[in-house]
């Protein structure tokens, strides 16, 4: 059981990292970013192409992957988000789902839908944590998640972060005091893409990645983590991610393996989500509206 707990924590770290990006966009723009996972996909495939395909150093792959993710985020912001700024949230949501599917299609076209393995940032054998063999890469992932969640929470207390919040609450009033909504929009989408890219780069060496791996396997739990955390709370997204990962894996162990309940992982998460929202509708760390 301990092994499932540990595996859940480290799996939850990826959900948390994606959830932090989702919350960042929602907090700043009130948009549900269904393209968040593919920022990670773009970063992972670009880094793989650079490191494995061309044999360039790892740092070049990381930089290239992050640059590709941020570029994708800025393109999405300019080509999709900004023209639809005044549209309904439903239209924006559908458009971002379209962005995710389009990006997956491009990756399939360029990279073929075959499984790949990214070399880890740090080599080395697994560390025994509660019976699970945890790789150094996973420890890095956990540390980065904690640092980024804290950094993002701090960011919204800075002048720049307050400008982002002001712009999200009343664009016209923010403009009056000299805050450019376009600059804010670029900043938010660039940061969200950067966070997604970091998630993709850190996760790709842990498992096997295929086109769409972030969206198809990570995005829904990440959204659940964001909701669980309160949707506007960055530390909440961090904690929500870890909670989702742990509950998924304990669900597999207890419900799936002991009680033979099908769909145990999803059932556990759904139960947790419903329970938290019934008791605390604003989420674990969300403020009451």
């Amino acid at each position: 059981m301990g092994a499932f707990l540990a595996l859940g924590l480290f799996q939850g770290a990826v959900y948390g990292l994606l959830a932090v990006g989702i919350v960042l966009v929602y907090k700043a723009k009130r948009v549900f970013n269904f393209a968040q996972g593919e920022f990670g996909g773009v970063a992972a495939f670009t880094a793989y192409a650079i490191v494995v395909g061309t044999g360039l150093p790892y740092w070049a792959g990381v930089l290239g992957g992050l640059a590709a993710a941020v570029a994708t985020g800025l393109i999405v912001e300019r080509a999709i988000v900004r023209p639809l700024e005044s549209s309904s949230r439903t239209i924006m949501l559908v458009a971002l789902v379209g962005v995710a599917l389009f990006t997956i299609a491009i990756i399939v076209l360029v990279g073929q839908p075959i499984p790949r393995v990214m070399p880890p940032l740090v080599d080395g054998g697994g560390v025994n944590i509660l019976g699970a063999g945890i790789l150094p890469q996973q420890l890095i992932l956990m540390a980065v998640l904690a640092v980024l969640a804290a950094a993002m929470a701090w960011f919204f207390k800075t002048d720049l972060g307050l400008a982002v919040l002001a712009s999200s609450q009343d664009t016209r009033a923010a403009q009056v005091v000299g805050i450019s909504p376009i600059a804010v929009s670029r900043l938010v989408w660039g940061m969200a893409a950067l966070l997604g890219g970091i998630a993709g780069l850190l996760y790709a060496p842990v498992g096997i990645f295929t086109p769409g791996f972030m969206t198809l396997t990570m995005l829904v739990p990440a959204f659940a983590a964001a909701v669980l955390g309160g949707m506007t709370s960055l530390p909440g997204a961090f904690i929500g991610g870890l909670a989702i990962g742990v509950v998924q894996n304990l669900g597999i162990y207890y419900l799936g393996q002991q009680l033979k309940v099908p769909g145990a992982a999803e059932l556990g998460v759904f139960a947790l989500l419903m329970l938290v929202l019934l008791i605390r509708p604003q989420g674990l760390l969300g403020g009451a509206n």
Binding site: V227, Y253, G256, Q257, N289
Partner: protein
């Protein structure tokens, strides 16, 4: 608040929907079926030792030779009985013209177990275009054309593309290249429309009663008792507590589990859902870097297996049956994840691609003639095409779907690439497997440990 509630409900629905299973309605029709295919004719024939007769006749009089002849090179299987009236045609000549026969092939190019598109594009026509000493194969005056469709690793899509190939693209027969649920779905459609259907052996659940279905390799249920013998006698692990099975929780794998546990009582069986991560399953196999099990039988999607292997720091010995695990792409990916699959052994319809020249030199000659870069998918399709060639040859010149099925049922075929086949007892006619070993030296690939064995 309203927004948050809406979002919560949306997230909840998205979480629950995958748990419902993505393959709606595919299994339900099959579960209660099973049974044996009595065959459509023949059945009393005996194998002909002389495989060189070429079978140019237009009927099956019962003592014809195999299909070898000019095109297949290495002789065919024995002639079966056939019926006294020759092959009983039904007049359905869909896909057959005076000059050509059209064959439809489906396989997953996208989804959870994708195969390389380039391999299919080059491999689907290789045998038919170059299998006759570098020239096109001619069967009773006709050449073979192929159409291909991606089933996206989804049964509903498989059924749809099979229908399109059979009805709109006029495919005479259909071939399933991989994916249990997809093969089952397409076989069901094919049987409902009397379209001949050939695939590698997968589940037996609901397949035995399909009149138009023929498995070209051993089914999972047939292979798993052999696998237990392999574990005990070749790997030397006889203690059931040291053996685990990780098999995806789909009804189509139940027969494989029954076959395995029936022959190896007391092994631990884990049945992860399709949506679970392979890395979670590793929690069962290892405690840190210590092995909980020496041998792990895997029957999952390749990506699940690769994730599980990568996350299993204790490196247990993986073994398995089927087709997709035996692909070099899987070996290569597993090897690049810190050699996590090194030494894994999988039963396979064919010997390893690395040894193809040893088992069928015509394959390499055809590859040279075509000027393509071949791989194990190409090799697999070559073998399956060769089986179909022998079947078409035996069906005679007056080819229709009825004549084809009449000519195949109860008969024997031998290609030297796929296992020897004998459909006297029904559609599951193979009795041999090859054992491939994952070797990580040289980029990660499979090599042949045993070829065409029927016991350990």
């Amino acid at each position: 608040m309203r927004l948050r509630t809406t979002l919560a409900l949306l997230a909840g629905a998205l979480l629950v929907l995958p748990a419902c299973g993505q393959f709606d309605g595919v299994h339900d029709d099959f579960l209660a079926q099973g049974g044996e295919n009595p065959g459509l004719g023949g059945g009393d024939g005996t194998s002909a030792d002389d495989a060189s007769s070429g079978a140019d006749g237009t009927d099956a009089s019962g003592d014809g030779g195999g299909s070898g002849g000019d095109n297949t090179g290495d002789g065919g299987g024995g002639g079966g009985g056939g019926n006294d009236n020759g092959n009983a045609g039904n007049g359905d000549t869909t896909g057959v013209t005076a000059d050509t026969i059209t064959i439809g092939i489906h396989a997953p190019l996208t989804g959870a177990a994708p195969l390389k598109q380039a391999s299919f594009e080059t491999g689907k026509d290789l045998y038919w275009q170059y299998g006759n000493g570098g020239k096109p194969v001619v069967i009773h005056g006709r050449t073979v054309e192929t159409v291909f469709a991606d089933d996206q690793y989804r049964p509903s899509t498989a059924r749809q593309v099979c229908q399109t190939m059979a009805e709109e693209q006029q495919a005479f027969a259909l071939i399933g290249a991989g994916g249990t649920d997809q093969i089952q779905a397409c076989a069901q459609y094919a049987a409902s429309e009397d379209v001949p259907y050939l695939s590698t052996g997968v589940t037996e659940t609901g397949m035995g009663s399909l009149d138009t279905y023929f498995a070209a390799s051993m089914t999972y249920k047939q292979q798993t008792p052999m696998l237990t013998d392999y574990i005990k006698n070749e790997l030397g692990v006889t203690d059931a507590s040291k053996v685990a099975a990780v098999v995806t929780n789909t009804p189509n794998f139940d027969d494989a589990v029954e076959g395995f546990t029936g022959a190896f009582d007391g092994v631990d069986v884990f049945r992860p859902d399709k949506n679970e991560r392979g890395s979670s399953a590793a929690g069962n196999l290892c405690t840190g870097t210590a092995k909980n099990y020496d041998v792990v039988f895997v029957l999952t999607s390749p990506t699940f297996y690769l994730e599980m292997a990568a996350a299993s720091g204790c490196r247990p010995q993986f073994v398995g049956v089927g087709v997709s695990m035996g692909l070099d792409q899987v070996a290569s990916t597993g090897c690049s994840a810190a050699g996590s699959t090194e030494g894994a052994r999988f039963f396979n319809p064919t010997p390893a691609f690395a040894d193809a020249g040893e088992y069928d030199p015509d394959f390499l000659a055809a590859v040279d003639a075509a000027g393509i870069e071949a791989d194990d998918v190409t090799w697999m399709m070559w073998g399956q095409s060769k089986v179909l060639h022998q079947m078409l040859e035996k069906a005679g010149e007056a080819l229709d779907r009825g004549a084809f099925m009449d000519a195949v049922a109860g008969q024997k075929f031998s290609t030297g690439v796929f296992p020897d086949l004998n459909y006297a007892g029904g559609p599951f006619g193979a009795t041999q497997v090859s054992v491939l070993r994952n070797v990580c030296d040289g980029g990660g690939h499979y090599e042949t440990d045993h070829a065409f064995v029927n016991g350990f």
